[in-house]
């Protein structure tokens, strides 16, 4: 698919928010989906070679957004894309978050893992679910899109490691204080945060879904480069492809390294 970039906003030194026009993409995207984006605009340049995976951060009237953090070659190229130019991306890939009519849910996010949670918050809000957000970052620069989240969330708890914004500490602390009121927890962010969140949820017997981030080459199930280890019903460990059977997994079944 191809789409016109209508916005490529620098949020701060680290983060960008890109908005792309594509009716076709938007008509298929569901919360949890990701897409593979071609970072370079010229066909004859083969470096970087592979497409980059990004979560769908938001959709609205024929447009979708990706929130990205500058890491290396690919994301630096993306940050240079001019408004009005076209970029290429796959259709929405992977599975989606599941929802079983829970009345009150918690979203737990950190860093760029907040991206797919915005789309999810909006979706749940429209289903009349009460949504709370637990948002953790290293510094104040890692706390983004709060005004957007305010539209869909009842209650927002922010934590940073230096305490400059929100409470000082890690996000699982305020979560653990309120955890009993939630019918379900959804999380996306650094692996350690996802593990801690899952362990809390298991302890309190609350269903938990986490969106994982593995290095991907194809994004469509062919290369077997993105495996995640998951326990099945019998307790046996199974290999799952993050790009096809994921990126959303039952947090209680993941075998953390």
């Amino acid at each position: 698919m191809k789409g016109k970039v209508v916005n490529n906003l620098m949020l701060n030194d680290k983060y960008y928010l890109m908005e792309i026009e594509s009716e076709e993409f938007v008509s298929k995207a569901k919360p949890g989906h990701f897409m593979m984006v071609k970072a370079q605009q010229y066909d004859y340049l083969y470096d970087p070679l592979l497409r980059r995976p990004f979560g769908v951060c938001d959709i609205e009237r024929g447009r979708f957004k990706i929130l990205y953090i500058l890491i290396g070659k690919g994301t630096n190229l993306l940050s240079q894309v001019k408004v009005g130019s076209y970029i290429e991306f796959s259709e929405p890939l992977g599975n989606t978050f599941n929802f079983n009519n829970e009345k009150t849910v918690a979203l737990v996010g950190g860093g760029v893992g907040i991206a797919p949670l915005l789309f999810l918050a909006k979706y749940l809000y429209n289903q009349d679910v009460l949504v709370d957000l637990y948002y953790g970052g290293k510094t104040e620069d890692d706390i983004l899109l709060i005004d957007e989240f305010k539209k869909y969330c009842q209650h927002i708890e922010v934590t940073t490691e230096n305490g400059k914004v929100g409470k000082k500490g890690i996000v699982t602390l305020p979560l653990s204080e309120n955890i009993k009121k939630y019918g379900k927890i959804y999380a996306c962010g650094p692996k350690r945060m996802l593990q801690a969140t899952s362990e809390l949820a298991i302890e309190h017997n609350i269903p938990v879904e986490v969106s994982l981030d593995e290095r991907m080459a194809c994004g469509m199930g062919a290369c077997l480069g993105c495996l995640v280890y998951v326990k099945n019903d019998k307790g046996e460990i199974e290999q799952k492809r993050c790009c096809v059977e994921g990126p959303v997994f039952d947090g209680a079944r993941i075998v953390w390294e």
């Binding site: 083969y46 469509m220 290369c223 480069g225 290999q239």
Partner: protein, 304 residues
């Protein structure tokens, strides 16, 4: 579709010479949602072994300059499940099916080949060149005596299908291995598999891939592959299938000029799932613009 791209290798007719490379196209069906498999000349399926294989530990892939390293470790469902679960789905498409296979011992190679030879596939592709597993794999492809034995013994049990032998580039003289494979009974050669490589993270000071080394593929390896196809073409008389870093029709023409009779597209499928189909179209246009009747007229025609 025009006839200019039709080819025949070892008696098997292909509608065009574009085949997707083993390990980069899953069992074929993974891509059916995204592209029309009927438009491909052929599909070379992920390397199949006798028993299901779980592959290496994660992380298994890393991008490098104009290429990537992988150490998947030949993960596959095993020959039985392949034939029962995957093949029937693939058979619904009008494209040639080549099954890449491997073993940990000569006996295993022979046994997998025997089973596949009775199945509804078009060709067998023996992988003696995977750099990512300890036993078998590359050991068979880097020792000429072992290459001879594994090809010779396997060929004895194959009654119905042509046998392609896929060579390793991780040798000093690929000509020798082409010759040995031909003498042992290979019906065609495919070249090349990935080049052994390594990448280190300077922050953690550890290798990026858990297996430490991995196979390098993508545009970065194309010049090596072209050279090897060229050398093989001068040495052997069985058809050569060119592989390595093909990204567009120009690369395909280059492989043909070096001596290829067909090509396989690997890593490019990750970059653009529609690439093989695009290349078919571009090749047709190229031949027309050059007034070349058949793509096979280009094989080995490099002027030196």
């Amino acid at each position: 579709m025009s006839k200019s791209l039709e080819i025949e290798i070892c008696g098997v007719k292909f509608k065009n010479p574009i085949i997707t490379a083993s390990g980069t196209f899953g069992y074929g069906i993974e891509y059916a949602r995204f592209i029309d498999l009927n438009r491909l000349g052929g599909i070379s399926v992920k390397g199949i072994s006798l028993k299901e294989t779980k592959g290496n530990k994660m992380p298994r892939i890393m991008e490098t300059n104009a290429g990537m390293l992988n150490a998947i470790g030949l993960q596959n469902v095993g020959v039985e499940r392949f034939i029962n679960e995957k093949l029937p789905l693939l058979k619904k498409y009008d494209t040639r099916i080549i099954v890449n296979f491997w073993g940990k011992s000569i006996e295993e190679y022979v046994e997998v080949a025997r089973i596949l030879d009775e199945s509804e596939i078009d060709m067998l592709e023996m992988n003696i060149s995977c750099p990512n597993i300890k036993e078998g794999g590359i050991a068979f492809g880097t020792d000429p005596k072992m290459t001879y034995s594994v090809v010779y013994e396997t060929k004895k049990v194959i009654k119905n299908k042509p046998l392609i032998v896929k060579l390793s580039p991780n040798v000093t003289d690929i000509k020798l291995f082409g010759k040995v494979a031909e003498e042992a009974g290979a019906d065609a050669i495919s070249a090349i598999n990935t080049l052994l490589g390594m990448a280190i993270n300077i922050e953690t000071q550890k290798p990026y891939i858990s297996n430490i080394t991995g196979g390098l593929s993508g545009p970065a390896i194309k010049p090596v592959a072209i050279r090897m196809v060229y050398e093989l073409y001068k040495t052997i008389s069985i058809p050569i299938i060119g592989i390595g870093g093909i990204m567009n029709y120009k690369d395909v023409v280059e492989f043909y000029l070096a001596g290829a009779s067909a090509v396989q597209i690997g890593t490019a499928n990750f970059v653009n799932p529609e690439i093989s189909i695009q290349i078919v179209k571009e090749l047709e246009d190229y031949l027309k613009s050059k007034s070349i009747d058949k793509i096979t007229d280009l094989t080995g025609k490099v002027i030196v």
